[in-house]
Amino acid sequence: MEIKPLIKRVCVYILLLVIYFLLHISVFPNFKLGGIAPNIMIILVSSVGFMRGGNASLFLGMFSGLLLDMFSGTYFGMYAVIYLIVGLLNVLFHQWFFGDDMKLPLFLIALSDFIYGGLVYSCVYFMRARYDFFFYLFHVILPEVVYTVLISLVLYFPIYYMERWLNKSDKRSERRFVGFTE
């Protein structure tokens, strides 16, 4: 891949990261339902993961996590690990993604958020002897999954169209490149 489309792609991902991070940390916590805010970063990491696949998604996962770590004041690096794992999980489903169907994306976003919840619970809460998993399952993890999936019905599309636009311009520049060398 040439350098110019790569820079374009990186810029688009940084832009998406900034917007979704701000939505995650400053906007949606004001619209909590039953004390639960949706997980916007999961929507971004998961969607890019199964749409794009490859290393880009892993890097995006890690940087999303690091950003959250910086503004959460708990263990620096914990979210990075969790979002990296979530990113990898979605990359594995890349080969089944065809773009014309909402079932797989919604399922994967839900699954990602569920796994995220499970990982946070087992890393932080289980370690501190909070053994009542089912309470956390029904009061934190599942409500968050439902709310996140609802929000992703809207916030999935900006990522989808950005990705489509990037792929199109990739192809265009590839053709131009081939034409130029011939």
Binding site: N30, M62, L66, D69, M70, F76, V81, L84, R130
Partner: protein
């Protein structure tokens, strides 16, 4: 099909490389308290201004949708509040008289006031936590405004939390309802020491925090008593209101009591907080 790996490294390898970096960061932050370093400064200038505006707007929007009341409701509330104002004004005059008397008597006995007023600075909440699991929030003042780690954060009615991380123009506050929080405190009436710790389970269920290790051999503490920060705490200044006891039971060891406390601060609608610009001074560094 186009080759997907730009750098010809298999995804698995990259994954493990990144994972190693993350674990190294975790270890580094555990050992040295590292929390971003130079990236933190960049993040400070990129995100903090935007967070400020966005949180303000969305907070207003959510309040507007929440607080739409009918005219009748408002009128009823208004009359109720007016009655309350009158009641409180009369109370206040009474209190002022008592205060004057107290001051006069204190002067007579040459006693200084028990609780000096702490110097504070106001700050806005600009971001509210990174997940549903932690109760931390970001305020719009940082080291440039004299904020330091471990400073206490209060709101009009009581203790909110403690500063855990400081950037140039933002700081992260862990509230006392966070599952990780543990405050050494005492019952106001009897000065018995106890611990107040946040508990996500109690908080989501009943909006309360946990009280443990209260030694009360004479059964003097009753439900409704105020709980304040104790003077033996190493990080919290003494005498800040935490909340009111709402439930109290004897532990199975028959020596201590535990129960629940209703916090004095409304954590759901927190917008402005006050940071106390004074750190608790302790003789030895490794106190509890």
């Amino acid at each position: 099909m186009r080759q997907r790996n730009n750098l010809n490294i298999p995804t698995g390898g990259v994954f493990f490389a990144l994972l190693t970096i993350c674990f190294m960061l975790l270890a580094l932050s555990y050992v040295t308290g590292f929390s971003g370093g130079p990236i933190q400064t960049i993040a400070n200038y990129v995100f903090v201004p935007m967070e400020k505006g966005l949180d303000y707007i969305s907070n207003r929007a959510s309040e507007n949708s929440e607080d739409t009341k009918t005219k009748e409701e408002l009128i009823a509330e208004n009359t109720e509040l007016k009655a309350q104002v009158e009641e409180l004004t009369s109370k206040l005059t009474n209190m002022q008289l008592q205060q004057q008397e107290l001051e006069r008597l204190q002067n007579m006995y040459e006693l200084s006031a028990a609780y000096t007023e702490y110097p504070t600075t106001g700050a806005h909440v600009i971001a509210r936590g990174s997940s549903n699991w932690f109760n931390t929030f970001t305020i719009d003042k940082g080291s440039n405004d004299g904020i330091k780690e471990d400073m206490n954060v209060i709101s009009g009615s009581g203790l909110v939390g403690i500063v855990t991380q400081v950037g140039p123009s933002y700081a992260i506050v862990r509230s006392i309802i966070d599952d990780n929080s543990n405050v050494s405190s005492m019952v106001l009436d009897t000065a018995d020491n106890c611990f107040i710790s946040g508990d996500l389970e109690l908080m989501t269920d009943r909006n309360m925090i946990e009280l443990t290790n209260l030694e009360d051999p004479d059964n003097e503490v009753v439900v409704g008593t105020s709980v304040v920060t104790s003077n033996i705490s190493s990080k919290f200044l003494p005498g800040i209101l935490i909340g009111y006891i709402s439930e109290l039971n004897e532990d199975s060891n028959k020596l201590t009591k535990s129960g629940t406390v209703t916090p004095a601060v409304d954590f759901k609608h927190l917008q402005e907080v006050l940071v106390i610009l004074e750190l608790k001074e302790v003789g030895n560094e490794d106190g509890n």
